[in-house]
């Protein structure tokens, strides 16, 4: 092969690339403030040494110290009338010898110590006549228990009688003790792990149903004609409104009952039995006649309303039971608090679930009616239905968006936030109805998929640290805010991971189960779920692992957990305490990593 001659152009391009590279790095060095001079600065090195030495000496164990003192008399200044002799000392234990036993202020004397405990140290003080300690120096005994140090005497008013030089000996007594720092760190690291556990559990529970909505292979099949789509868009807000009303009505109707535990319990049991009977009636027959369908819908609505009441009663029972259990359970009072908090959570969640359920019910059934209209009616009728309801649906949708915008920006002008959006929405709806064929199946599933994906991606791109700031404002500083922030981020991240898992399942079983005449939900339970259980578990473990790591720093913004302590100690320059917390984080993260890998191996 002939070797190619290097052309001038090629060399120039190479040279240019090198120059551009050098420029890029030079600029990088400037903007990142690289300054190697600072690394040699003596002051900084001393500080660095101090901090590093503190960091490697975590404040975990301490000893109780017993103090004994050894004194020699000392005259300051020397008395004029008499000679000062060396005092008698007991040489059986530790003792001090001075180069002189009297001196003038600011003079130096050499103090020697004998028989001290090898390799121990302590303060060397001048004790004034009135008993005030003036530190002279710290001593440190060598391997044979000897030390020698030169001290400068303090400046004092002349005093006639003897004062003293005292060495304080500190001896560790008793077993090693856990420091207060270590105890606090333990409490906080437990809090951190459970914060992560709660966040993972909540996030996972919500992420699972959402992940199906964000799975392309499941959603792409869902197509519905315009009549069905628009009726269901109109149905959802109506249902949500009705659901909210029903929840608050049920609460006010049941209020007298909820105040009494016995009545609540009786109501709960009766309600549960009734719900069971109603469900049997409504699901018992699979007859497809209109009459059977109407009966089924009515019993279903009744059952759902009853379930709502039962849930409300359950909430009140949980609350009062929990509250009354906290005291008698003593150390296990947290179980009572748990029940109480579930009750409190139910107070928030029940109306939301009722609203969503009612929305789905009304929206779904109106959608079905729309589907039937599209399936059974002649094209011109469908076209007219489309025109009317598509316009209405468009108006509803944009009016709702307008209301949301009004809430955020407080425009307060109905023309801008209601009439215009509704008008534009109606126009878009009309256009859609005019330009599509009456029975054309629109890719609604795909639309839901894209909307869900967009929301998930948006939520995921906000770090949980930032979310924590918002939650701290809502629920106050503490681990609860941190858990909520982590839960929200977990939800978004897991829903995406889960949905990708759903997208990678084998289509064969899905096809086979569909072919048996199973409905959508049955197909998911029988063909999709078995294929995704183990990856779901593995992702959830991994996420818990991530959450433990995240929760160690979420305390920096007030989200509770160990981060709060760590930041505090760093700010107080207490590096030995900070070191304990760093150590705890390292141990927990390493442990979680190990445990999750073991569990994942077992599961998958």
């Amino acid at each position: 092969m002939k070797k190619k001659k290097p052309s001038l152009l090629r060399s120039l391009v190479t040279a240019l690339a090198v120059v551009v590279g050098i420029l890029a790095f030079s600029y990088g060095v400037q903007v990142t403030n690289v300054n190697f001079e600072t690394t040699r600065s003596e002051d900084r090195l001393t500080q660095l040494r101090r901090v590093v030495r503190a960091l490697v000496k975590p404040d975990i164990i301490e000893y109780e110290l017993a103090e004994t003192t050894i004194e020699i008399p000392f005259y300051l200044p020397c008395p004029e009338d008499q000679e000062v002799a060396a005092p008698e000392v007991d040489t059986s234990g530790p003792y001090l010898v001075a180069s002189a036993y009297c001196a003038s202020p600011k003079e130096t004397v050499i103090i020697e110590g004998y028989n001290f405990i090898p390799r121990t140290g302590g303060p060397l003080d001048f004790i004034t006549a009135s008993g005030v300690r003036k530190p002279l120096d710290d001593y440190r005994a060598n391997d044979t228990g000897y030390f020698s140090t030169e001290v400068t005497l303090p400046q004092r008013q002349p005093v006639a009688e003897a004062q003293a030089i005292r060495a304080t000996v500190r001896i560790r007594v008793g077993p090693p003790l856990i420091t207060e720092t270590a105890k606090v760190t333990w409490d906080k690291i437990v809090e951190t792990v459970f914060m992560a556990l709660l966040a993972t559990a909540i996030g996972t529970a919500i992420a699972i149903p959402i992940s199906f909505l964000a799975a392309r292979n499941l959603m792409v099949e869902n197509k519905s004609p315009l009549s069905s789509l628009s009726l269901s868009i109109i149905g959802w807000p109506i249902g949500i409104y009705l659901g909210l009303q029903a929840a608050s009505l049920a609460r006010s109707l049941l209020a007298p009952m909820m105040r009494n535990m016995t009545y609540s319990l009786i109501g709960l049991l009766l309600g549960a039995v009734l719900v069971f009977i109603l469900l049997r009636v409504s699901f018992g027959s699979t007859k497809q006649t209109i009459q059977a369908k109407i009966i089924r819908i009515f019993t279903l609505v009744a059952a759902v309303l009853l379930v709502l009441s039962v849930l409300l009663l359950l909430e009140s029972i949980l609350k009062s039971l929990g509250r009354s259990l906290i005291e008698p359970l003593g150390a296990f009072g947290f179980i009572g608090n748990f029940l109480l908090q579930i009750g409190e959570a139910a107070f928030l969640v029940i109306p939301a679930i009722t609203a969503l359920g009612a929305g789905a019910f009304v929206g779904g059934n109106l959608g079905k009616i729309g589907q039937t209209i599209s399936d059974k009616s002649p094209a011109p009728v469908v076209k007219i239905v489309n025109l009317i309801f598509s316009a209405l649906a468009g108006a509803t949708l944009l009016a709702l968006i307008g209301a949301a915008i009004d809430w955020f920006y407080q425009i307060g002008d109905l023309t801008k936030t209601l009439y215009w959006p509704a008008g534009i929405g109606a126009a878009i709806g009309l256009a859609l109805a005019i330009f599509t064929k009456p029975k054309q199946a629109l890719p609604t599933g795909l639309a839901v998929y894209f909307i869900t994906r967009t929301i998930l991606n948006g939520t995921r791109s906000v770090e949980s640290l930032v979310m924590a700031i918002v939650f701290v404002i809502w629920v106050g500083i503490g681990p609860f805010a941190g858990s909520l922030a982590l839960a929200l981020h977990t939800l978004a991240a897991l829903a995406k991971l889960y949905s990708e898992q759903v997208e990678s399942i084998l289509p064969g079983p899905l096809e086979a189960v569909t072919a048996t005449g199973a409905n959508r939900l049955q197909t998911i339970v029988y063909a999709v779920v078995p294929q995704i259980v183990s990856p779901y578990i593995s992702f959830t473990m991994y996420r818990w692992d991530i959450n433990v790591r995240m929760s160690t720093i979420i305390g920096f913004v007030g989200g509770g957990g160990i981060g709060f302590l760590l930041q505090q100690n760093i700010n107080l320059l207490d590096y030995r305490a900070a070191s304990v917390q760093m150590l705890a984080i390292a141990v927990v993260v390493a442990l979680m990593d190990y445990i999750s890998s073991v569990v994942r191996e077992r599961m998958v």
């Binding site: 469900l279 699901f283 018992g284 699979t286 497809q288 589907q371 039937t372 399936d375 059974k376 084998l506 064969g508 079983p509 096809e511 086979a512 189960v513 569909t514 072919a515 048996t516 005449g517 199973a518 409905n519 939900l521 049955q522 339970v525 029988y526 063909a527 078995p530 294929q531 259980v533 183990s534």
Partner: protein, 250 residues
């Protein structure tokens, strides 16, 4: 009586899988569908239970227009049409009995089925169907622990749980060795003869077609090329169906 009228399917992207295919199948008939890979056999079978939505044309079954049925009605129709697949399409992580019981999903109470609860009669039926294909002792194994032949028998049991009036078999023996192929075909034959179930079965090997089918239709690039007795496929017909370069094997 199943009538296929002018069935056409164009996939998104323009692939023409079926072109104006019309034929009819009598109750209790065993119909073989032959043709090269990619000739539209799978699409044809899937258009009948609308796993694939036909672009135009009609499927009429006992006077009812399947192609015009609503989604709810389609569930009622599908449960009477069992389907068997080349790659078995079992849920490999589920137990064999769960796979078999899945055949009842179109009949049972939907709410209870989501909790994996089936009526006692369905369990008995599942055991009977598994017994018929000789896998009753494997009922509580995971589906992927079974061999290929056993898995296809699970597939047959699942289809039979639907108490089907039609069985669509999409190359049911293409992944199996010749001995297993015959045993699977014999099960289909028994079901066809004894229960009077109409079978539409796509096949690659002509000896299987001769041995088991009452009638055969052939597709080439989505067109119906042949409709008649298997014995009528002589060398000339063969070349029409499979192309001029093709040679007979087996």
């Amino acid at each position: 009586m199943l009538e296929i009228k002018n069935l056409t399917k164009v996939y998104e992207g323009g692939t023409q899988a079926l072109r104006d295919v019309s034929f009819s199948v009598k109750q209790g008939e065993f119909l073989a569908v032959i043709g090269l890979s990619g000739s539209g056999k799978s699409t044809l079978l899937r258009c009948i239970n609308r796993l694939v939505e036909p672009t135009s044309g009609q499927v009429i079954w006992n006077g009812e227009d399947v192609t015009a049925a609503s989604q709810d009605e389609m569930l009622q129709i599908r449960r009477k049409i069992g389907m068997i697949f080349q790659h078995f399409n079992l849920v490999s992580r589920s137990k064999v009995i769960t796979n078999v019981l899945a055949g009842r999903l179109g009949y049972v109470n939907p709410a209870m089925s989501l909790l994996n609860r089936f009526p006692k009669s369905d369990y008995e039926m599942a055991i009977k169907e598994m017994d018929r294909v000789g896998i009753a002792d494997q009922a509580f194994k995971r589906a992927d622990e079974l061999s290929g032949g056993q898995q296809q028998r699970v597939g047959i049991a699942r289809a039979m749980m639907q108490e089907p009036e039609i069985i669509l078999a999409d190359e049911p023996v293409a992944s199996l060795d010749p001995v297993l192929a015959h045993s699977i075909m014999q099960y289909l034959e028994t079901i066809n003869r004894e229960e009077g179930v109409m079978v539409l079965c796509s096949l690659h090997f002509l000896d299987l077609v001769h041995r088991y089918a009452d009638r055969a239709i052939a597709l080439n690039e989505g067109r119906l090329m042949f409709d008649g007795k298997p014995e009528e496929i002589d060398d000339e017909r063969f070349k029409e169906i499979y192309g001029k370069e093709a040679e007979r094997v087996g």
